[in-house]
Symmetry: C2
């Protein structure tokens, strides 16, 4: 089941006592349309203003906060300190990983569940009850590796 339909998210909101509004719906739409883009609140706000010129940035932040609490969206902060928001893909059952290129800034996603065994080991060895994770590799992406080769 893909966690990507508006009506599904609407019922999740309502079950939690929130109302569905045009602004919230629009934000979810934008998140769906740009689901691999790792957008910041400001970037989402800019995209939303196209269809909803009167929307406020505070509404974007408040809605993202709710969606994060409902685990519909995951907040991820890389070393630049800016919060980015990723729609969770329910189909995979775990949060995906990121490859962050230090040259061009591009973020590639890895959907394989690479951490299964490691999580088991951590739970056992450290008595830590894992609920979520963040795994990001910093390095040079394929395209930038080619660019580097051409430079020399």
């Amino acid at each position: 089941m893909l966690q990507l339909s508006i009506s599904d998210i609407k019922s999740q909101l309502q079950r939690a006592g929130f109302k569905m509004t045009p602004q919230r719906e629009a934000l979810v739409q934008v998140l769906i349309q740009h689901k691999t883009a790792h957008l910041s609140a400001e970037e989402l706000f800019m995209l939303l203003k196209r269809s909803h010129p009167d929307i406020g940035l505070a509404t974007v932040y408040r809605t993202l906060e709710i969606l994060t609490q409902l685990t519909i969206v995951k907040k991820i902060v890389f070393e630049d300190g800016i919060a980015r928001y990723d729609l969770k893909r329910k189909e995979t059952g775990h949060f995906h990983h990121h490859l962050l290129c230090v040259k061009c800034g591009e973020i590639e996603e890895v959907f394989e569940d690479l951490l299964f065994d490691i999580e088991k080991k951590i739970e056992t060895d450290y008595h830590f009850n894992i609920m979520d994770h963040r795994l990001t590799f910093h390095g040079v992406c394929k395209i930038c590796q080619f660019a580097e080769r051409d430079e020399s």
Copy 2:
């Protein structure tokens, strides 16, 4: 070789064209003393003021930036958006992992290199040249698990 001596860091700074100052030395000392504490710039600043009442917060930020560039220190940002700074432990050859308790906020460190095989796989499958990583598990620590049990 432990990356933890002042004189070693001093020569690294000088090799890169930076000067060693009392403020920088003091910051490194504090980082060594609190090497498992994951302190923010503000927290480091407070600790530094004890011995150097005149130190400025900007100096702390500027020095951390340099130490980060020289990979003496690693900057890590969790979902609260505050940058924290970890002295890199050269002995392990890789950056350690973190267990972040969602109940008490405690951060436990995992020094085992759990990612070796995964990094190999990523490098091959994605043609991504890995230079560094950030791996954090969110969950409930041992102590908070006991507290939860007692609550019910």
